[in-house]
């Protein structure tokens, strides 16, 4: 789960990381008030999870509260990188000497948290990794021991941080690590961490991504979830525990298991030309009951781009008869006439096929293999197009 910048910033501050005294606003009037409080000259930052907001118009500078209000007026409600801006963070401007990158993430290769720093802060770290990889230094943290002073000093020495900032840098890095651990984060990032012209270290941007699997033990963080920008279908899927991602094509795809769901999509890409593609990724997960299947189908059918539906179920924990039950239930509710290509295999597949045949719905086709199912769905989509 991504936190907004303003939420991450509040969390960072709780853990003792020095941040700017800015505030979040959702109306131009609020922006005006905050700018006045902060002394007039401010930075307005769109609260959307996109790197390099500065380059794409997501960060604007105002000389006075009135200008801040006007800029906020144009920013709020506008769309950047496909995301609607509903909130902005208003910060005072400061004078910067140097920008540093400081981040903590889970490293899959070592299966350990990793501390990452670069003397080149302020840009997307992936970009820095491409353009000046030599400026980036990493160290893995043994989860049994935690971060140690010498690791931070080593990083400070490597990024050529002047000696007089080491003590503060140590504190900030410890705070960041403590926040990372206590929040069950998968990423905690200060980019940039700046040295101001009056010799302070300050976190200018804050980013925190929480491990969804750990939200059960962080109700405070779970409550911060902001469904800004989430479609109704995505919200329904999330509520039902279904993995659902909208794509560009016409074939609504549903499968049980992420690997199988990806493979189903891959099959469409493999056998279709460029004009035909999957409308979504949808994984009903393991052991889904009929109502989950019905919900999933309902979500897909609510998408007007969907012209054909492809269901690929390999029963294991999931029972095919439960799936068939869900399919029939959803079709009964939606009365859809869209062609449905259904491929059922595994646990209780025979029972399921019998149930579907018994329903005698003209728009339903059962196929034996995945290849056949994909080809059939593509053919149907092409016929409709």
């Amino acid at each position: 789960m991504n936190l907004h910048e303003y939420q991450s910033k509040a969390r960072f501050a709780e853990f003792g990381i020095p941040v700017l005294p800015g505030k979040v606003a959702s109306t131009p009037q609020q922006v005006y008030e905050i700018a006045r409080e902060l002394g007039g000259k401010v930075v307005i930052k769109a609260q959307i999870p996109t790197p390099n907001r500065g380059q794409i118009g997501g960060i604007l500078f105002a000389e006075n509260p009135k200008q801040a209000e006007n800029l906020a007026n144009s920013l709020l409600g506008s769309v950047i990188s496909g995301l609607i801006i509903r909130k902005v963070l208003v910060n005072p401007t400061i004078s910067i000497r140097q920008e540093i990158y400081l981040g903590m993430m889970n490293d899959r290769t070592s299966s350990k948290p990793m501390l990452i720093a670069s003397s080149e802060g302020g840009r997307d770290i992936i970009e820095v990794a491409r353009t000046s990889p030599g400026s980036i230094f990493r160290d893995t943290i043994n989860p049994c021991i935690g971060l140690r002073d010498y690791q931070v000093r080593s990083i400070a020495s490597n990024i050529d941080l002047p000696n007089e900032y080491w003590k503060t840098f140590l504190q900030i890095t410890y705070s960041l690590y403590a926040c990372f651990v206590a929040s069950d984060a998968v990423l905690a990032e200060i980019n940039p961490l700046v040295i101001t012209t009056d010799n302070r270290l300050l976190a200018l941007d804050s980013k925190l991504i929480i491990d969804d699997n750990a939200l059960y033990r962080h109700t405070d963080l779970a409550e911060m979830y902001d469904n800004d920008g989430e479609s109704e279908q995505e919200a329904r899927a999330r509520a039902a525990g279904i993995s659902y991602v909208r794509l560009e094509g016409q074939i609504g795809c549903m499968a049980n298991g992420a690997g199988l769901a990806m493979t189903t999509i891959d099959m469409i890409h493999l056998y279709a030309d460029e004009s035909i593609g999957p409308a979504n990724f949808l994984d009903i997960g393991g052991g889904a009951q009929s109502n989950t299947v019905a919900t999933a189908l309902g979500i897909m059918l609510a998408d007007p781009h969907v012209k054909v539906v492809l269901l690929n179920i390999f029963g294991g924990i999931t029972r095919c008869d439960e799936v068939a039950d869900g399919i029939l239930q959803a079709l009964d509710e939606t009365k859809t006439t869209l062609p449905l290509v259904i491929r059922l295999a595994g646990t209780n597949a025979n029972e399921a096929r019998q149930m579907i045949n018994r329903a005698q719905l003209p728009n339903l086709t059962c196929t034996a293999s995945l290849t056949e199912a994909a080809r059939q769905a593509i053919a149907s989509a092409r016929g409709i197009n």
């Binding site: 899959r108 043994n142 049994c144 059960y216 690997g259 990806m262």
Partner: protein
């Protein structure tokens, strides 16, 4: 008897009284697995499918001589269950549970290195030795005995591919689901090594996914150390970058972990990579 298990494997089921634990215990017993008991704290003394239930793993081990465990307990308690199994000196621990927080798994990963336990999973379907042993949730009928070893990060996709093999008359020595999470106890290289050393295994099928670099590590291992032919399929060829497709592990991170990169590495290691999983039987011949 193939890899990971043998005739002395004595299995306990952690979470045996739960809905999933109880269901799959019956399935495993039916398949022929030597289930000797189960563990559910506070339910010691009960019986499930004629198997004794204990309060702790240690008590189960003391009473039954168990040396393998399968874990069906909910995510919030699964890490604890793994530690309990490790500290009771269980040699093979298979964790089915999905949704264990990654920080818990990083701790376990670090800790288990220094013990004699092997963890398979979490978030995996377990393992199957056709017609002999099942430790997990794979449907038994999808597999037949043979000489192909199957190792996979995926769940149902594994069933799909194993079933495809079976329908083509190609049997398996073992089918191992290592799990799709970013931190897992046993990775491709570990299992490939076992298949390479297993006299019964002649060929190997490897099923990967987008995200991480474990398939690239596998490719390096295959190039360096494997003599047996390997056929692979990598799911997620058409997944858009950065989009999380269900699995915590299936994220393309920092420009690495793409399917293209993995396929290239595998092909350079001499692996035949299928673009359609249903073509794997042809590539094996």
């Amino acid at each position: 008897m193939s890899i990971l298990v043998d005739n002395d494997t004595r299995l306990i089921v952690q979470g045996i009284t739960g809905r999933e634990g109880s269901f799959h215990t019956a399935q495993m017993i039916e398949y022929g697995t030597h289930v000797v008991g189960g563990v559910t704290p506070g339910k010691g003394g009960e019986w499930v499918h004629s198997k004794p239930v204990f309060d702790t793993v240690q008590k189960a081990v003391d009473a039954t001589g168990a040396n393998a465990s399968i874990i069906y307990v909910p995510a919030a308690h699964a890490a604890d269950a793994i530690y309990e199994a490790i500290n009771a000196q269980i040699g093979l621990i298979v964790c089915i549970t999905e949704g264990i927080p990654i920080q818990d798994m990083m701790h376990i990963y670090e800790y288990i290195q220094y013990t004699n336990s092997r963890l398979i999973g979490p978030n995996c379907p377990g393992l199957l030795i056709p017609n002999q042993v099942k430790i997990g949730i794979m449907p038994g009928y999808i597999a037949i005995p043979g000489n192909v070893g199957v190792v996979s990060r995926s769940g149902t996709l594994t069933y799909e591919i194993v079933y495809t093999l079976t329908q083509a008359g190609i049997g398996q020595t073992a089918c191992v689901g290592i799990g799709g999470d970013p931190v897992i106890g046993t990775d491709f290289v570990d299992v490939l090594k076992m298949f390479e050393e297993d006299p019964e295994t002649e060929k190997v099928v490897m099923i990967g996914e987008i995200g991480g670099r474990t398939e690239v590590d596998a490719a390096e291992f295959i190039k360096r150390s494997m003599t047996k032919p390997v056929v692979a399929f990598i799911a997620g060829n058409s997944a858009p970058a950065g989009i999380r497709m269900g699995h915590a592990g299936a994220i393309i991170e920092n420009g690495t972990g793409t399917v293209q990169e993995k396929i290239q590495a595998l092909q350079e290691a001499g692996v035949r990579v299928a673009s359609n999983p249903e073509n794997i039987p042809e590539l094996l011949s």
